[in-house]
């Protein structure tokens, strides 16, 4: 028989799970450029999330409310601890801080319009407060950031609340970078820096270090604003029990807790994907801290990072949050990553749904850009209407679930309304694995 090597069976090519094609491509890119990847957005890796939880609904042991007709209150009041003028919102879904600079002026205006139409708040970002944002936002939260770009007492007093930003879920412990492409004359002027240079946002505040200092800093901010407005403290999801405890100790009215799926305008991909904890893992620990201090509901908890639907909202509330905050989802509602711009995404070497080079300023949707031609693609009135619609849908979805659980207020949702699909989610959310009465770490049980 003729020895035919060409027809002998061969081992099929096997791709390494460790050195996958995307990993290898990144190694080659790093070797070629000498620059680590910077991008926007939050963690893209799959982590335990709200999809791993289910509501149980009502049956014989629970009495549901009629899905469309019976009242289900969605309002929330934030800042009841110290502020003379707490914030009252119609819905518990707020818009997270995103800067003018990272976003166009029209995008900021659209966020303000949409939030106002929906009866909720929006938030400034690094770089200060713009007149169009203040003008179109009934309730505006003013971020107090390490860079203090654009910070001034007049805007501080124009704010409805102040959010001291200690960290973000996308990069707890890290600062930010606004690359020179987006530093127009207006952005540069607001930040007191030359046009076109890369602007670093520091990772820590310049005039306080630990929680004792922060307490005095908050005293100063309250004295400047006459103790009128609530003061939030925003932390990235890192050590939620201790960070929440220290935020309360420092005098926060509201704690904002941002998990690793929370977005950023720009930071290193390695940071986004490898530092911080999933949002799901943060909530119960923060609530435990508030309960241990006797402050649950007196100091309100806002959760952010990967919230997309009314179900996500309801799950956060059931786990003990008072409200949630959305950033990436709000941008998608405005038109970010819309497939209608696919041809332009392709030109940028990406595709709709994956575009994350927000720092480069070439956003085809005209949102994360300072290019006037691109920015003109976003109509702030239409954008505001779309955001309003989306917030309405999320609220209706959350109400539907709450009624099915027999709750006439979103805030009455509770962990007992939930079960988990995975061991990981059960452990993080401290709710039973579906079909059991057990979760890993449940007091009085052994694994």
């Amino acid at each position: 028989m003729k020895d035919d090597h060409t027809s002998a069976p061969r081992t099929v090519p096997i791709q390494s799970a460790t050195f996958s094609n995307p990993v290898n491509a990144e190694i080659r890119r790093a070797a070629a450029t000498g620059i680590y990847d910077i991008r926007g957005g939050g963690a893209k890796r799959k982590v335990p999330h709200f999809d791993d939880l289910l509501f149980l609904g009502a049956s014989i042991s629970r009495y549901p409310l009629e899905g469309y007709r019976e009242a289900c209150d969605t309002s929330v009041t934030l800042g009841t601890r110290y502020a003379k003028n707490p914030i009252k919102l119609d819905i518990p879904i707020t818009i997270a801080g995103m800067s003018f600079g990272a976003l166009s002026g029209a995008a900021k205006e659209a966020l303000g319009r949409g939030a106002t139409l929906a009866g909720t708040s929006t938030t400034t970002g690094d770089g200060g407060m713009t007149p169009e944002e203040r003008g179109h936002s009934k309730t505006l939260v003013y971020q107090y950031l390490p860079s203090r770009y654009g910070m001034n007492p007049d805007d501080l007093r124009r704010a409805d609340a102040i959010e001291v930003v200690v960290g973000q879920g996308a990069k707890p412990g890290g600062g930010g970078m606004l690359l020179g492409q987006k530093i127009t004359d207006r952005v540069a002027n607001m930040r007191n820096l030359p046009k076109g240079i890369d602007q670093r946002s520091a990772c820590r505040h310049p005039d306080w270090t630990g929680p004792d200092d922060l307490e005095i800093k908050i005293l100063e901010l309250r004295e400047i604003t006459g103790w009128k407005v609530p003061i939030y403290i925003k932390v990235g999801g890192a050590r939620p029990y201790f960070d929440t405890t220290l935020a309360v100790k420092a005098g926060a009215d509201v704690v904002v807790l941002d998990g690793m799926q929370g977005g950023t305008a720009a930071t290193q991909d390695v940071f986004i994907e490898n530092v911080g904890m999933p949002t799901l893992a943060c909530i119960r620990e923060a609530v435990r801290a508030l309960e241990d201090l006797g402050m649950h509901r007196e100091v309100q908890l806002i959760v952010s990072g990967g919230i997309r639907t009314g179900a996500d909202v309801a799950k956060c509330m059931a786990l003990g949050a008072d409200a949630v905050s959305i950033g990436t989802a709000a941008l998608i509602a405005l038109g970010d990553n819309d497939p209608k711009w696919e041809a332009e995404y392709q030109k940028l070497g990406t595709t709709a749904g994956a575009y994350d080079d927000w720092h480069e300023g070439n956003d085809p949707a005209g949102i994360s850009t300072q290019n006037p031609d691109l920015a003109s693609r976003l109509d702030p009135v239409e954008g505001g209407r779309r955001l309003r619609n989306y917030l309405k849908v999320m609220t209706l979805e959350a109400q539907t679930i709450a009624r099915a659980c027999g709750k006439n207020k979103l805030h009455n949702l509770e962990p007992e309304d939930l079960c988990a699909l995975t061991m990981e989610a059960a452990a993080m959310a401290k709710v039973p694995l579906a079909g059991t009465d057990w979760w890993p770490g449940k007091p009085g049980t052994t694994f």
């Binding site: 001034n152 007492p153 240079i197 670093r200 310049p206 005095i216 005293l219 100063e220």
Partner: protein, 225 residues
């Protein structure tokens, strides 16, 4: 002269009274006695009034000041005149950390020494220190002028942007991207004015100027370590 005694006046009442002074007030001279190291004294002022603090203060004295002149007859804790917009703050004694941090405008005069991170992230303020400044002063300083009649500690002007630093004495070390620069006639003129405003008995020719080499302005892998 209006006198407020902090021995029997709460901080909130003190600041509310000073903040309520309008631009056209006739009550332009205020004296605060018994400050006892309190924090956040005379913060958020917004009128051309003169406030004299008879004693030492805690954190953030004169924070976010606009228009007012605040003179502390003592020493101050961290963050004096932080984020000041305009006006003048004068410290007869020493200042702790972060003096003039992120200040956008106005003049801060420290007649003693200033601790570490003096002028951190300054954004237009003029800071004049009669004595020495500690380490990491003018870190990420964006604009404005820092005058040091004594010595500067380690890492002066680290990651500095466009602020101008003038030091008469020694500089223990310069921070990343901070270099010595020529003193041109315009800098002598500028420094002459600053020294005069600061009440300093020093000649501008005795100073060296430091500023940004502008090598870190755009991200480059060769600057990453």
């Amino acid at each position: 002269m209006q006198t407020i005694d902090m021995a029997n006046t709460p901080l909130r009442d003190l600041n509310a009274t000073l903040q309520a002074q309008a631009e056209a007030t006739n009550q332009t001279a205020w004296e605060i006695v018994n400050p006892k190291g309190s924090h956040a004294i005379a913060v958020g002022l917004d009128a051309e009034i003169e406030v004299t603090v008879k004693g030492s203060t805690g954190y953030y004295c004169g924070g976010m000041n606009k228009l007012a002149t605040i003179n502390v007859h003592g020493s101050v804790g961290p963050g004096v005149a932080e984020n000041m917009m305009s006006g003048t703050v004068i410290i007869d004694g020493d200042a702790s950390q972060y003096a003039g941090a992120t200040g956008h405008g106005g003049t801060l005069i420290i007649k003693g020494n200033a601790s570490s991170r003096c002028g951190i992230s300054m954004k237009g303020i003029d800071i004049i220190v009669h004595g020495n400044v500690g380490h990491m002063s003018a870190f990420m300083a964006q604009s404005g002028n820092l005058v040091v009649c004594g010595d500067a500690g380690d890492a002066l002007g680290d990651s500095i942007y466009e602020a101008r630093l003038f030091v008469r004495g020694s500089v223990k070390s310069l921070g990343a991207d901070c270099i010595e620069k020529d003193m041109r006639p315009e800098h002598i003129a500028l420094l002459t004015d600053l020294l005069e405003r600061g009440g300093c008995d020093a000649k501008p020719e005795e100073f060296k100027r430091y500023g940004s080499a502008r090598q870190l302005y755009n991200f480059n892998i060769d600057n990453a370590y």
